[in-house]
Every structure is written in structure tokens, then in C-alpha cells.
Amino acid sequence: MDALPLLRLGHVAKFYGSRPIFRNVTLELKAGEILHLSGPNGSGKSTLLRVIAGLSRPSAGELELRLKSGARIGYLAHQTALYPQLTAKENLLFWSRFYKVQPSAKKGLEESLNDALRRVGLEKLAQATSGTLSRGQAQRLSLARLLLLEPALLLLDEPDSGLDEKARELMEREIAAAAERGAGVIRVGHGREGVAKARRAELRPGQGLYFYEPAAAPC
């Protein structure tokens, strides 16, 4: 595994006008590492993920992403990025082509799509239009979309919202598998899901990140 961090933030701050959202955020994330980010409402967790994804500009500080050429960032927020008129499989096909996913020689693209649907338990809904899926099913399909892209950096903003117990377990398994493949993962959440294997940090309003020592982490 590469010793250099995949992502480095140095004293990053974000302001909307004169209102600080967060400031002095410093962190490093290595390939294969999972960071569980918590914090009260309004502390800027989602904004921090958007800044890391490149969807929002930091107001101050340094942000360094060490991704190989062609490496992808996977970003899952409250919106699923699915086209409601397309079927589940058509959605996956479009995004995999648009993100230039190269199917492995062993599996063709068709088999990769079926495999992604199978992994999130949606193989029977491959031909269902996304608009007819429940919130939880759409969230699972959105996760399948991300996993198909095999991102080097996976940014998940409350990925388990709207999921039932079984779907949450499935999501935890897939997130862990992505990290084992070498993806750096930052997930925002309020619950305890996936905390066991993750480094934990809390974003405190108007302050920086507070990292919990593994031993000190509350059970």
C-alpha cells in the first residue's frame, strides 16, 4: 500500500460570506483507510465532503489529492444522480460509460453491470425504471453505480439514510470491500455503523476536526 496519503487537507476553511462553516480542518487519508466523520447538524460535514470532491471551493487552506491519472472520485450524497425514466441497468450503463469504466477482460460490461446489481440485491429490478424504486432501493442502486466506477476516493454523505437493516449490512460490506481494494473512504454519519473498522473524527462547529484515539473511542 502506498505510504503517501491519498488526500491531505491543511488548515482548510470554508465561509459563506462572513459566516464560517468550518475552519482549520487538517487531515490525511491513506489508500485503504476509512474515516468516519461525525458532528452536530450545521457543523459543515456535508460541505467538507463537497470541498474534497471539488464541488465547492475552500475559502482558505490547502487541499491536495494524490490520485493517479484517470482515477475516479465517487461521491454519494442525499441525491442519487439517477435518471428516473431509465431502468436500473440503463442508469448503470450510462454512468459506467460516461466515467470511462473499462470492464475486466474476464467479465464483459454486461456481466459487470449484472454483478453490481447482484451485490446490492437489485438483480430482480434490473429492468425497473429508477423512478419506480423506493428511496432505499434507489440509494442501493446509487451505491452500485459508485462501486462500478471503482473510485480511488469514496465520499459518502450519510449513505445509510433510508436503508433497512439488511441493506445497511450490505452497504457496510461493500464499503469495507472498497477499502480493501485500496480506496480511501470518508463517510459522514450520525450512527455507529461501520465505526469499528474506521478511524473516527468529529467536526466541531466553528472549529477543526477532533480525532478520537482508537482506544478512547466510546463503545
Partner: protein, 235 residues
């Protein structure tokens, strides 16, 4: 960039043309305009070729406004724009993909508007048909290049104003598009007579054709250079 644009174009065509999306609405509006203008002529009278060309292009223009607002609205319903921006492709792929989809849909609509103009406005296709069609296509290129840029701009403006409804997008698009498109439309109307007027030769339209080509080049260049800034929604 081209491959990404073609993938996006194919998806948009499937959504807008294949699944009863915005194309039907745009077609109906254009046909309605041609029909209403046809009521202005008396029994047995024919509209002049120039006026018929003007009505044809006005219908095409309204169709363009509806098509490009619909094309960009597709990316706003559930965070698709963010996912497009995160793809490892230049942002201009989106501009080109939407322009190609808009060009195809506009061309399809004009395949209906053209015979409708002949029937309802009493025109004969007595001019140079291949030349006239080529001039329509050249004008369409400019409409699509600018339409794709303004569609993104109108969508961004409507988002920032907190009005993500079709009325806000279409109003903004129309305000931006009409002044910029005037020279191109004027040239389209003047050269439209090449299709409808008897014995009209293309050699009479040299200056207008050059104006169309200049507009195509300027709008395409502006799209390629500016689209990255226009579609970037980062705060």
C-alpha cells in the same frame, strides 16, 4: 471529449425523444405557431416565401428554447449535474453532448415544420431543395451551439435565484437567446427563400451564408471556451 459527448447525447435522445419527453411539447408549439400564422392569409392566397421562412424559423426558435431547457433540466432532478462534473472528462463534453442532442431533436422537429409550412402557408418546394436544406442545417449548427451554452446558463441562473421551475428557465433562456440569435435568424430567414422561392439560386445568398458561418464559428468557439465556467456550480 467526443466519446463522452456521444454517450451523453445518446442518453438525452433516449429520454427526450424515445420516452415522450420534451420533443412532443416542442413539436406541438411549433406546429401551432405555423397553423396560427396560416390563418392570416385569405382563401387562395399564398404567404410570401420570405414570410414563410420567417414563420418556419420562429417555430424552430421556440422549439429550440423548449428543447435546450428540457435537456439541461434532465441533470437537475436528483443531483445528476454533480455526477457529470465529477467524471474524468472535460466539461465541454457536456456542452457538446447537449448541442448534438439538441441539433438532432431540432432537425427532427424541422422535418415536421417544413411540410407543415408547405401545406399551411401555401408554399411550393420550388427552390433548390438540397441547397436549402444545407442552409437550414448550417443555421441549426449555430442555434445548437448557442442553445447548449444558454441552456446551461439559464439553468444555473434559475438555480441561483432559487427558481428551478420551467417558467424561470425558459424566461431566462429567451431573454438571453433572442438578442444574440438575431443575426443568425435574419440570415436563416433570408436564405430560407432558397427553399420556397421559385428559381432562387444559392449564389444570391453569399453574404448571408458567410454570416451564418461566422455565427456558427463564434457560438461554437464561445461554447468551447466558456462552458467550463458556465456549468461549474462551485460556490
Amino acid at each position: 471529449m467526443l466519446k463522452g459527448a456521444l454517450i451523453l447525447c445518446r442518453k438525452d435522445l433516449a429520454l427526450l425523444a424515445g420516452r415522450g419527453g420534451g420533443l412532443v411539447q416542442a413539436l406541438l408549439l411549433g406546429l401551432l405557431l405555423i397553423f396560427i400564422f396560416s390563418l392570416t392569409r385569405g382563401p387562395g392566397e399564398a404567404v410570401s416565401p420570405q414570410a414563410a421562412a420567417a414563420i418556419f424559423w420562429i417555430s424552430s426558435l421556440f422549439c429550440q428554447v423548449l428543447l435546450f431547457t428540457a435537456l439541461y433540466a434532465l441533470e437537475e432532478s436528483d443531483g445528476q449535474r454533480q455526477a457529470l462534473l465529477l467524471a474524468p472528462l472535460p466539461g465541454q463534453s457536456v456542452w457538446l453532448g447537449k448541442a448534438l442532442a439538441g441539433l438532432t431533436l431540432l432537425g427532427l422537429a424541422q422535418l415536421v415544420f417544413l411540410p407543415a409550412s408547405v401545406i399551411f402557408l401555401g408554399q411550393g418546394m420550388s427552390g433548390s431543395i438540397p441547397g436549402g436544406l444545407a442552409l437550414i442545417l448550417l443555421t441549426d449548427l449555430g442555434l445548437a451551439a448557442l442553445g447548449s451554452m444558454l441552456g446551461a446558463l439559464a439553468q444555473g441562473g434559475a438555480n441561483q435565484a432559487g427558481r428551478n421551475g420551467p417558467a424561470a428557465r425558459e424566461s431566462l433562456f429567451s431573454i438571453l437567446a433572442f438578442p444574440l440569435l438575431l443575426p443568425l435568424l435574419l440570415a436563416g430567414i433570408r436564405t430560407g427563400a432558397a427553399l420556397f422561392a421559385p428559381a432562387a439560386g444559392l449564389e444570391d445568398y453569399g453574404d448571408w451564408v458567410r454570416l451564418i458561418l461566422a455565427c456558427d464559428a463564434v457560438f461554437s468557439g464561445a461554447g468551447l471556451l466558456l462552458f467550463g465556467f458556465i456549468y461549474d456550480s462551485r460556490e
